[in-house]
C-alpha cells in the first residue's frame, strides 16, 4: 500500500505529437518545423516504442494518443488514486536524439514550455525534469539556466547512453549548471542511438536493447566515478531512473575491487568508490529486477549497504506491475516512509524546501 503524500520520482507524460509543441516553440523554429513538415512526425524513440506492451500497461492506455499523453487520464490512473504529494515528470522524446544540435535545443525548449503550460500549470502535484539536448552540453547548460528560476523543475534529465560516456569533461557544463541550481542529474534508461546498445554491436531484437539498458546505467555510473565528476562537483547528486536497481551491488563490488589495484589511474578517487555511490547516487525503485517481495528488497538493501538510496516511482505508464503494487506488500512502515518520502526529499532540494515552507 502506497501511503498518500508519497513522492513519485518517475512518471512519463508523452508528447502527443510535434504539432502540440508548435505553440510552445520560438517563432523561428515553429516556421522551421512547419517548412520541413516535421510536425507530421513525432520522433518516437526506438528505446521506448509506444506500441511495445512493456511501455503501456493495458489499463493505463488512453482511448486515443500515446500512453501518458493525457493529463486527465494520468490523474484518473495514478494521481487521484495514489494521492502523491509530488510526481516528477520525465519526458523521453526524439528531441533528445536530434543530430542537429540547434533543432534539438529548440524542441527540448518546446517540450519544457509545453510541460510547464500543459502539465505543471494544470496540476500542482506535478514537478518536472528539464529536458536538454544532451549532445550539446553548452546549450544544455543554457536551457538549465533559462528554467532554473521555475522551482517546479527539480532535476535535469539525461539518457544513460549518449554520444560519449556521461562522465567525460565535455559534459561538465551540464553538471556545473545543475549543481549551481540544486538540481540532481536524473539519468534515465535509454540511448540516443549513437552507438549500439550492446557494447558488442547492434542487436537484432528489442529484447536485447531493453535488457542492455541496465548495462548502460552501469557504464554511465562507471564513467561518472572514474572521471571524477563527484569530486569536481561536490554538491551534485545523481538519480538512476529505471535502472533495474539490482545490478548495482555487484557492480559496486567489482568497481571497488578493481580500483584498489589501479587507483593511481584515478587519483581523485581517494576513498572507496562504493561509499561515494552510497552518498551521491539514488535509484528509482521501478522497475526492480528481482521478485517483488519484501525479502528480495531487504537483501538488496543489505547488499547496497544503505536504506537511503531507493526512491519510490510508479514509472507510469510503463508496465511492470499490476494495481498499485509499485512496492512489495508487507514492507515495514518505516522503510516505506523512507522510500516514498524521506529519501526523495533528501534527494531533491527543491522539494525539501517546498515541504519545509
Amino acid at each position: 500500500m502506497i501511503p498518500a503524500g508519497a513522492i513519485d520520482c518517475d512518471i512519463h507524460p508523452a508528447v502527443p505529437s510535434v504539432r502540440d509543441l508548435l505553440p510552445h516553440l520560438e517563432p523561428y523554429w515553429r516556421e522551421h518545423v512547419q517548412r520541413r513538415g516535421l510536425e507530421r512526425d513525432n520522433f518516437e524513440t526506438s528505446a521506448y516504442p509506444p506500441g511495445a506492451p512493456i511501455n503501456a500497461r493495458p489499463d493505463w492506455k488512453p482511448p486515443a494518443g500515446p500512453p501518458g499523453g493525457s493529463l486527465p487520464a494520468m490523474q484518473a490512473h495514478i494521481l487521484d488514486p495514489l494521492r502523491p504529494a509530488f510526481a516528477i515528470c520525465n519526458v523521453i522524446h526524439g528531441a533528445q536524439m536530434m543530430m542537429s544540435e540547434d533543432l534539438s535545443l529548440a524542441l527540448c525548449r518546446g517540450i519544457n514550455n509545453w510541460l510547464a503550460a500543459e502539465w505543471l500549470d494544470r496540476d500542482d502535484r506535478l514537478r518536472a525534469s528539464i529536458v536538454v539536448p544532451p549532445h550539446s552540453p553548452d546549450l544544455a547548460a543554457e536551457e538549465i539556466e533559462r528554467l532554473a528560476g521555475d522551482r517546479r523543475f527539480v532535476q535535469v534529465l539525461l539518457l544513460a547512453m549518449a554520444e560519449i560516456p556521461l562522465g567525460r569533461r565535455m559534459m561538465w557544463p551540464v553538471y556545473r549548471a545543475a549543481e549551481r541550481h540544486g538540481l540532481p542529474i536524473g539519468i534515465h534508461a535509454g540511448s540516443t542511438y549513437r552507438h549500439p546498445l550492446s557494447a558488442g554491436g547492434w542487436g537484432s531484437t528489442y529484447l536485447e536493447d531493453y535488457v542492455s539498458f541496465a548495462q548502460g546505467h552501469a557504464a554511465a555510473l562507471n564513467s561518472l566515478l572514474a572521471e571524477g565528476v563527484f569530486q569536481k562537483f561536490p554538491d551534485l547528486r545523481v538519480v538512476l531512473i529505471e535502472s533495474g536497481v539490482t545490478w548495482l551491488p555487484a557492480s559496486m563490488w567489482r568497481f571497488n575491487k578493481t580500483w584498489r589495484g589501479v587507483r593511481a589511474e584515478v587519483p581523485w578517487l581517494n576513498r572507496l568508490p562504493a561509499d561515494i555511490v552510497r552518498e551521491r547516487v539514488r535509484l528509482t525503485a521501478q522497475p526492480f529486477d528481482a521478485p517483488p517481495d519484501t525479502a528480495s528488497l531487504t537483501t538488496i538493501l543489505e547488499q547496497l549497504g544503505s536504506e537511503d538510496m531507493l526512491l519510490f516511482a510508479t514509472d507510469y505508464p510503463h508496465w511492470h506491475y499490476e494495481g498499485e503494487a509499485a512496492l512489495p506488500a508487507g514492507l515495514p512502515a518505516d522503510l516505506v516512509r523512507r522510500i516514498t518520502l524521506d529519501n526523495p526529499l533528501a534527494t531533491y532540494p527543491r522539494l525539501q524546501q517546498e515541504t519545509a515552507r
Partner: protein
C-alpha cells in the same frame, strides 16, 4: 620483544631494501632517505611477498586535472594485486583504517653498543667499527 641485528647500515643504502628472516618471519627492511623502516613481507590481502614489490610515490589529485606527485618513493606496491602501502606506517592507500601491513620498530645502533648486548645477531657478525640496523621482533 627482542632486538635483532639484521644488516649493516651500508648494506641498505637510501632507496634500498633487504628482506631478512627473524624468528621465522620474513621482514622487509627499507631505507627511505636515510630513515629505516621494517614491514612484514606478507600482504594483508592475500599473502603475497609484499616487500618484493615496486617502491612508488603517492600520486594525488584533489580533483581531476590537478595532479601532484607527493612523498616520492614512500609506498610499496604489492606484486600481486598492486595494492599500495605506506612503508613507514603499513597503512594501505585505499583503506588506511582497515587494511594494514604489520610494521616493526627499527633502529640504527653502533657496533660498539651491540657488542655489549643484549642483542641477537644470528646472521650478521658484528664488529665495533660499523653501524647496524636493528629490528625489534
Amino acid at each position: 620483544m627482542a632486538k635483532h641485528v639484521v644488516a649493516t647500515v651500508a648494506e641498505i643504502p637510501p632507496g634500498g631494501r633487504k628482506i631478512v628472516t627473524v624468528r621465522g618471519r620474513e621482514i622487509g627492511v627499507f631505507n627511505l632517505g636515510g630513515a629505516f623502516h621494517a614491514l612484514i613481507n606478507r600482504c594483508p590481502h592475500q599473502g603475497a611477498a609484499l616487500c618484493t614489490g615496486a617502491i612508488v610515490s603517492r600520486l594525488e589529485a584533489p580533483v581531476p586535472g590537478e595532479y601532484r606527485l607527493t612523498r616520492p618513493d614512500t609506498m610499496i606496491r604489492c606484486p600481486w594485486h598492486c595494492w599500495e602501502f605506506d612503508i613507514a606506517t603499513g597503512q594501505s592507500w585505499c583503506e588506511p583504517d582497515d587494511v594494514k601491513a604489520r610494521t616493526y620498530n627499527v633502529s640504527v645502533e653502533p657496533g660498539e653498543a651491540l657488542a655489549k648486548g643484549p642483542f641477537t645477531a644470528e646472521t650478521v657478525p658484528v664488529s665495533v667499527e660499523q653501524d647496524y640496523v636493528v629490528v625489534e621482533v
